[in-house]
Amino acid sequence: MAYFTQQLVNGLALGAIYGLIAIGYTMVYGIVGMINFAHGEVFMVGSFIALIGFMICAMAGISSAPVAILLVLLIAMSFSAVYGWAIERTAYRPLRGSFRLAPLISAIGVSIVLQNYVQLVQGARPKPHVSLVSGGFTLFTSDGFDVRVTWIQIMIVMVTVALMAGFTLVISRTALGRQQRACEQDMKMAALLGVDVNRTISLTFVIGAALAAVAGMLFMMYYGVIDFFIGFLAGIKAFTAAVLGGIGSLPGAMLGGLLIGLIEVFWAGYFSSEYKDVAAFSIMILVLIFRPTGLLGKPEIEKV
């Protein structure tokens, strides 16, 4: 029981990170119908920006952890948002209206560019970072096994819940969210009603990138080490999470993220850690066989 609880805690923290990245995939898919394969790299860039941010904070002598974290969070979100905006502007917008595979290929190109760019300017070696948030507490002990919850895990879950709540509010309650949902359903009609579709799409990328940057920062603080290649696997996992939850559905992305995180951690905990990725992907395949639209996705009903 203690072991199970421990894995549950670990899985939730990891799943929250996947969920944050998955939102970027699902939002972009919802609005422009393409998979933004460069999104994982935005997450990686976000984590590097966070790393640099923490170093600047250390140099500037900001010793209070909450202040530094908040500052770095803002820096990482805003810089990554610029990346997200620029990627859309340069790599996707010129291809809008061309054949469906074109933006996909250009997304893969962007992802290679970003990886190599970070590898060149930051070096290929993994970058360690001493986490500002360390320690934790023992939840309970049974059979001589301590269930530890670290502060960083609590922070991950809390930040994710807060962002999700704010984000859901924006989408469901504000004019911006209405405009976004309208574009998702019928872009041309939205344009005719005076909605600036290009700007809405840009904003979607900006929001997605900012959330990925938060995930990148949390990832770095959680694992304490990053390199230029982390975006690939995390991106694929988050994409899997978005598909599992039902691509296009925001709660689905979050649910899918949590599930992928839990599956991975439990598999590693009970069976073997070498096959944890295989387990996550196999379960996705199984779910898609029986529910092709994912767990919370709505099937497209065609009227005849």
Binding site: A175, A182, Q185, L193
Partner: protein, 268 residues
């Protein structure tokens, strides 16, 4: 008569070798319903697509005028025509945002006002008063339209669940929520039963008389065209063959020929 609201001059739209609209010129006035009729394939919808920015016309000028201000529609981007020139349109098939509620459909149409008032939603989230007032005003306008189309009780239902006739009226109301100068309707009466069709006539005449908006109307249902339009423009094979008030057009030999075919041995 005052200035025309929209002037279409020498409009030509060519798709490769096909001349869909061929040198068509006409005008429509504010506070009037101008019907565009013609057999299938006459170029009516192409004409609309040019006016609303879906197509860039091959040749021609589209001038929208209000007071001293003019907009050259053929030079504007699609969303600008909706946003700045304020031309609204509906389609032959229904294009409501089916997954959003009836009220939300009407609010999206007012989103420009709301976005400005809400400071890109940032202030709106913080609950700044100006935004709440703007939102309340938007809901008030939407409510007024829901009353006029008889859908107040359905405000929170997903638009896709409404019966067909109600969806048609909601589309028109949504277009009107953009506060357009010109409203272009593409076969609004298609598929309506006689009662719904009568309700539509009432709605359209009230839009003309109460709101003073210029209405362009593509319609095959002649009972609708003849009973509510002030002017009728007839297209055939992309050319304009007649233009005038309904009674005039009905007697026009060219129109009769286009619709019924020429009689044996009778020439133009």
């Amino acid at each position: 008569m005052s200035h025309p609201l929209i002037e279409v001059e020498h409009l030509t739209m060519r798709f490769g070798g096909l001349l869909a609209v061929d040198d068509v010129s006409f005008a429509a006035w504010p506070g009037q319903i101008t019907a565009v009729i013609g057999p299938n394939g006459a170029g009516k919808t192409t004409l609309y697509n040019c006016i609303t920015g879906f197509y860039k016309p091959t040749v021609g000028r589209l001038t929208l005028r209000e007071g001293d201000r003019t907009w050259l529609l053929e030079r504007m981007l699609g969303f600008e025509i909706g946003q700045k020139a304020r031309v609204a349109r509906t389609f032959q098939n229904i294009r409501l945002f089916g997954g959003m509620t009836v009220l939300e459909n009407l609010l999206v149409a007012q989103h420009n006002k709301l976005m400005r008032a809400s400071g890109w939603s940032l202030l709106g989230l913080a609950g700044v008063r100006g935004f709440r007032e703007a939102e309340a005003a938007a809901i008030e306008l939407a409510r007024g339209w829901l009353e006029r189309i008889g859908l107040v009780a359905d405000a929170d239902r997903p638009a896709g669940e409404l019966p067909y006739g109600a969806q048609r009226r909601l589309e028109i109301a949504r277009a009107m929520c953009t506060e357009p100068r010109l409203l272009c309707l593409d076969e609004p009466a298609a598929g309506l039963n006689p009662r719904e069709s009568a309700e539509l006539n009432q709605l359209l005449t009230s839009i003309r008389d109460r709101d003073g908006v210029g209405v362009l109307l593509i319609e095959h249902d002649m009972s609708v065209v003849m009973s509510i339009s002030d002017r009728v423009v007839v297209l055939d094979y992309g050319r304009k063959i007649a233009d005038g008030d309904p009674a005039q057009v009905r007697r026009d030999p060219a129109v009769i020929r286009a619709y019924l075919g020429a009689e044996e041995g009778v020439d133009a």
